[in-house]
């Protein structure tokens, strides 16, 4: 349990005159519609369970009416769950009494709202310092912290303005600064960018990721926009009719949608912005070290049936690429491997999105080299891999393409030998 920051354990939220009496019906497996028809109670969240890890961006995605906003309000008990438990750092917050709950909200968790929820009778500074003010922090101290957070979200100079003097995007920055000022472990964001226009929304998404990179909060993020969910989520939960239908990383959901509803949902997603180099790359069968020499390089290529091979140094740092033609020519002219190696290789980082790789793949005459953070060679990408990464069904197909490629190249190698 310790490794989970938040654990949602069979949580249900029912609205109506006597919600408690309805909870057993969920355990019996009655559907939301049956319960509504029989008792007139609306089930907002139906037996939801999930675990959220410390420091991750966890996105809850669903259409309107899917219960996502109801569920996120359970995390800080703006909605008290009718049934089930919510563990934060191992403590069941549903059992909290008023003083504990107040302390929990003041210290551990903060929320950003869809329509910002700003206090329009207070200045920007007054808004951002609110959370600290109700903790009775001294004026000097809280204004200093508020000031830092206003600068963090890029609103320096607007401290004395009122919310209605700012644009929507700026107002939501205030909402974010206000939430961050409390230095919470957990940040709840209820469709924070849905009310903003698309350009501003994209900026805000990038900025959020930027801030997250620095602050490493545990973020629970609600959205109805599948592109937004897959862009910023480390993991995504998909909700429908109050139920959690699937939880997983964006890639795993794209690769194996749990049902037709999710397939339908993700149909329009731009896969090139979800899949990264590491998802389409191939681990090299053959690598040649600089000191190995040309003969070894030719042998490696023949054995693996390929027409070119990457050359690395002892620490697997990429030195370049050598083609079979160049290698054979080199042997004839008694050159060393170092002389014939072609250093004009395009490298991409493991984390690069396919979207960014496409132009490089078009320009490069060799396969793209994929490197990790330490600049070590991890794999390579052929143009067909880039293409197959964009096709919805089965990413494994790229290996077939690769096999085809190898087969055709085997022919050329044999031709050369003749």
């Amino acid at each position: 349990m310790a490794e989970n920051k938040i654990k949602i354990d069979h949580v249900s939220k029912i609205f109506g005159p006597k919600p408690k009496t309805i909870a057993p019906m969920i355990k019996e497996g009655k559907s939301k519609d049956e319960i509504l028809a029989e008792t007139g109670h609306t089930v907002g969240v139906y037996d939801a369970s999930m675990e959220i890890n410390e420091g991750e961006v966890f996105v809850i995605m669903g259409l309107s009416g899917s219960g996502k906003s109801t569920l996120i309000r359970c995390f800080n008990l703006l909605n008290k769950p009718t049934d089930g438990a919510i563990y934060v750092d191992g403590e069941n917050i549903v059992e909290y009494k008023t003083p504990q709950l107040k302390k929990f909200r003041q210290d551990k968790i903060a929320m950003v709202f869809q329509h910002f929820g700003l206090f329009n009778h207070r200045t920007i500074l007054g808004n951002v310092e609110y959370g600290l003010e109700i903790k009775n922090m001294s004026k000097e101290e809280r204004q200093k912290i508020a000031q830092e957070n206003i600068e963090l979200v890029g609103l320096k100079g607007y401290e004395d303005k009122y919310p209605d003097e700012l644009s929507g995007g700026m107002q939501q920055r205030v909402g974010l600064a206000r939430a961050l000022a409390n230095d919470p472990d957990i940040l709840l964001m209820d469709e924070p960018f849905s009310a903003l226009d698309p350009l501003i929304r994209r900026d805000m998404q990038l900025e959020l990721l930027d801030i997250q990179e620095r602050l490493k909060k545990t973020i629970v993020f609600i959205t109805h926009d599948v592109n937004e969910a897959f862009k910023i989520g480390d993991r995504v939960a998909v909700m429908k009719d109050g139920k959690v239908v699937q939880v997983g990383t964006p890639e795993s959901i794209l690769e194996a949608p749990a049902n037709d509803y999710i397939s339908d949902f993700i149909k329009d997603i731009d896969r090139s912005k979800v899949f990264q180099a590491e998802h389409v790359m191939i681990k090299p069968n053959a690598l040649v070290s600089l000191k190995d020499g040309l003969n070894v390089a030719v042998k490696e290529m023949q054995q693996n049936g390929i027409s070119s091979v990457f050359v690395v140094d002892r620490g697997r740092h990429l030195k370049g690429i050598v083609t079979i033609d160049a290698a054979i020519e080199g042997i004839k002219q008694k050159k060393s491997l170092e002389d014939v190696v072609d250093t004009d290789v395009t490298t991409v980082a493991k984390e690069d999105y396919i979207n960014d790789i496409i132009p490089k793949a078009l320009e490069s005459k060799f396969p793209l080299a994929v490197t990790n953070k330490e600049d070590k060679l991890e794999g390579f990408i052929l143009r067909v891999h880039v293409l197959s990464g964009l096709v919805a069904d089965d990413i494994e197909e790229s290996k077939e393409y690769h096999g085809y490629y190898q087969a055709t190249n085997n022919q050329t190698i044999e031709d050369i030998e003749k």
Partner: protein, 285 residues
């Protein structure tokens, strides 16, 4: 056809008995109310009379300038000066002290009642018909118990004014507190505000523009009661109107009447100006 059968209920008698009972049983309470009200009126009146007339006019001009414009300020000053030329300056000061006292007491009672109504559905259900009755009951009717409790004079006038002018501020306070944006309430909750912090730092400030509209209405209604209240012995402009009716004195009646209109205009515009001030940063989303 049949006339109404000879069935009698003596509701009026019971009310009279109840009023008698109150008068005897709660004498201490009424004495306290009398004490507070008369102190308030006398204090305000003493302050107004302490100010020289020209300083008062300058103050009115400045207030008008601050909340509306310099033109409005000068107009309000001219109104005041005209009332002085009618020979009704002292009466106007008396009327202002009665109205201001009544409004102050209305706010002290009305805002907490309105807030409580917003929080308690049960209390709200009980209060609504009472407020309706207070607003629709002909005002002459409660002049009688007013005399009973407080005798003839300014305090009875305030009591009668209270009953008539209190409902708007209560109603609009309730409406305003209930009308605060749900997400704003949620965001205050999500930071762990206590109920008191929520009320003082979020709900009341958010509700203030609407509450100010209630204050404006209450003030105008208090002014409207000035003439009726003079029947139980309130002094001031209302008393002059009453005298002019008795004497069929058109000149005095018009002068006193137009003075009340001037006062109404000034008070209405100034309280509206204050409300606009509060409204400034609350344009709808």
């Amino acid at each position: 056809m049949g006339s109404f059968p000879n069935i009698q209920s003596n509701l009026g008698d019971y009310v009279e008995m109840f009023v008698d009972f109150l008068d005897e049983g709660l004498e201490g309470l009424f004495d306290l109310i009398f004490f507070i009200s008369s102190r308030t009126i006398n204090g305000i009146e003493a302050f107004l009379n302490f100010l020289p007339w020209w300083l008062f006019i300058i103050l009115i001009i400045l207030v008008g300038w601050y909340f509306k414009s310099i033109g409005s300020g000068l107009l309000y000053g001219l109104f005041m000066f005209l009332v002085g030329t009618f020979g009704l300056w002292d009466e106007m000061m008396m009327t202002i002290s009665i109205v201001v006292s009544a409004v102050l007491i209305c706010l002290v009672l009305g805002i907490p009642l309105g807030v409580y109504m917003a929080f308690s559905k049960g209390f709200s259900t009980v209060m609504r018909p009472i407020l309706d009755a207070m607003q629709t009951m002909p005002s002459f009717v409660y002049l009688i118990p007013a005399i009973f409790f407080f005798g003839l004079g300014n305090v009875s006038a305030i009591f009668a004014t209270l009953i008539y002018a209190l409902p708007p501020v209560i109603r609009l306070t309730e409406l305003a507190i209930r009308g605060v944006d749900e997400e704003v309430i949620e965001s205050a909750q999500s930071f762990g505000s206590s109920r008191w912090q929520m009320l003082m730092k979020v709900q009341l400030p958010q509700a203030l523009p609407t509450i100010m509209a209630g204050v404006n209405q209450t003030t105008m209604m208090a002014l409207a009661m000035v003439v009726i209240a003079s029947m139980v012995g309130a002094q001031g402009l209302g008393e002059q109107v009453l005298i002019s009716i008795n004497r069929i004195d058109i000149a005095l009646g018009f002068e006193a009447g137009i003075s009340i209109v001037f006062l109404a205009i000034i008070i209405d515009r100034v309280t509206n100006g204050v409300a606009d001030r509060f409204q400034k940063h609350r344009r709808a989303k």
